[in-house]
Symmetry: C2
Subunit: 109 residues, 2 copies
DNA sequence: TCCCCATATATAGTCTATCTATGGATAGAC
DNA sequence: GTCTATCCATAGATAGACTATATATGGGGA
């Protein structure tokens, strides 16, 4: 049926913002970080990641800057803005409420 | 920004199958049940629900039968098939793994 | 009696987000 | 010198959820 799902739809922005909360990172680094922290369970495809970063830039939640990486490559580093931090707080709250609500349905309270 | 989200995308089938696990119900009743169990947090729109039920029928996870409701109306009652029960088990497992993985990223393990 | 609300099903069209597929480029290892 | 991992990015396909709409009726209240 449906192809394999790498992510729960609707959670990508949350994952990216959370990752950037810890420290600015380039796109590839964001994907790696999410993959590793999730023990390889979550994979952010490039075709999802870069459009998502563009969206976040447009909304003013992150800002970008070209720099050199540790490994001596040019890369675009993304960092949270103040608005982005606020947005992250909002998304965490909404996510937790949503998960709790789904939990109530699953348990049949 | 995006319009208000009533559901976490990707969880609708899980919610429907779970609801039908308890007892056969008609579409309207499924929506009500999810709304009530979630304390009005989750709202299943008609335009999401009926297409989803068609999908589940096509996949053979539910079967349908026209009957009269308690309130004396014709309604289509949906019930889980054996395949549907199996699928539900699968989806619950995947969902829990997904949520756990997201949790690890959010907590920054 | 008549109107309205809650109940009940369903589809067409839109929108958004994710995935697939592809293209390009370079550092460093072997 | 070639290969792999690192890095960016977009076009197109797809899926799933939402909006809007259409239809219909039982039962309660004015």
């Amino acid at each position: 049926m449906g192809r394999k799902k790498e992510l729960l739809p609707g959670t990508l922005d949350l994952l990216i913002l959370t990752t950037l909360m810890r420290s600015p990172l380039h796109g590839y680094g964001i994907a790696l970080s999410i993959k590793r922290l999730s023990d390889d369970f979550l994979t952010v495809e490039e075709g999802s990641l870069y459009p998502a970063l563009q969206r976040l830039l447009l909304q003013g939640w992150v800002k970008a800057e070209w720099k050199m990486t540790d490994t001596n490559r040019r890369a675009r580093f993304y960092a949270l803005t103040a608005a982005g931090k606020k947005q992250l707080g909002l998304e965490v709250t909404q996510y937790e409420q949503m998960i709790a609500a789904i939990g109530r349905v699953l348990k049949g309270a």
